[in-house]
């Protein structure tokens, strides 16, 4: 409930729907221009995913690993674990 109050308080600062805001104005241009110069990687998706947003990718990998561990804990027998 406290979290909900905080979210209602923070909702005032969301930019209007469909309006350009400071957050998504220039960042995609920077990615396209800088990715080959900075990381020597032609695939922009890989460069963004594993370099600029690598903590996010670490979270995704952790989610998959934790899912596997949960299945092993709930359904596994003594043969594997």
């Amino acid at each position: 409930m406290f979290l909900g109050l905080i979210l209602i308080f923070a909702e005032k600062d969301i930019p209007e729907f469909g309006k350009q805001s400071v957050v998504h104005e220039n960042i995609n241009k920077t990615y396209i221009e800088e990715s080959y110069k900075k990381t020597h990687t032609k695939n922009v998706v890989t460069a963004v995913l594993a370099d600029w947003r690598s903590i996010d990718t670490f979270g995704e990998t952790m989610v998959i690993f934790v899912a596997g561990m949960a299945i092993l804990l709930i359904l596994g027998t003594k043969k594997i674990s």
């Binding site: 020597h40 460069a47 594993a50 990998t61 998959i64 596997g68």
Partner: protein, 143 residues
């Protein structure tokens, strides 16, 4: 030497197909810099090859490729590689997962290149191990 499917067609075709699936998986993993692909996709393809071998080949041959305990170890090693690269870069540059000074003799650009490569390999190991582990745990009672 026939597997659990009792059909020679399925056996022969899967014996031909599994090395091709592994090769394509490693291609997708290591050419993620130049073409669509990367860690998740490569790991999923490698896991698909091993799961196909579990379903069609005899159990002992399939377990020689990657046993269930090895799958657990491979998943743990993959996530440890990712975490350890982050720790090394935190020690060197002060930012977590900032690869600019990973090996100081290389330039900054090539450091980013190899940092992305190592991280993708870690992701691929984790995904492949976890998928094989899930399949083994869920299919254990049918063995």
């Amino acid at each position: 030497m026939k597997g659990p499917t009792k059909s020679i067609v399925v056996d022969i075709i899967s014996r031909i197909l599994i090395p091709c699936i592994f090769t394509f998986g490693f291609y997708v993993l290591f050419f993620g810099h130049e073409s669509p692909g990367g860690g998740f996709q490569g790991g999923a393809l490698i896991a698909a090859g091993i799961i196909l071998s579990r379903m069609t080949l005899p159990l002992k041959e399939s377990m020689d490729m990657m046993s269930d305990k090895q799958a657990l170890h491979i998943a743990s090693i993959g996530i440890f590689v990712y975490f350890f690269v982050g720790i090394i870069s935190f020690y060197q540059t002060g930012n977590y997962l900032d690869y600019s000074n990973l090996i100081p003799s290389l330039g900054e650009t090539m450091n980013h290149y190899w940092g992305i490569m190592i991280v993708e390999i870690g992701v691929a190991l984790c995904v492949a191990g976890t998928m094989v582990l899930m399949f083994d745990v869920l299919a254990e009672e049918y063995n």
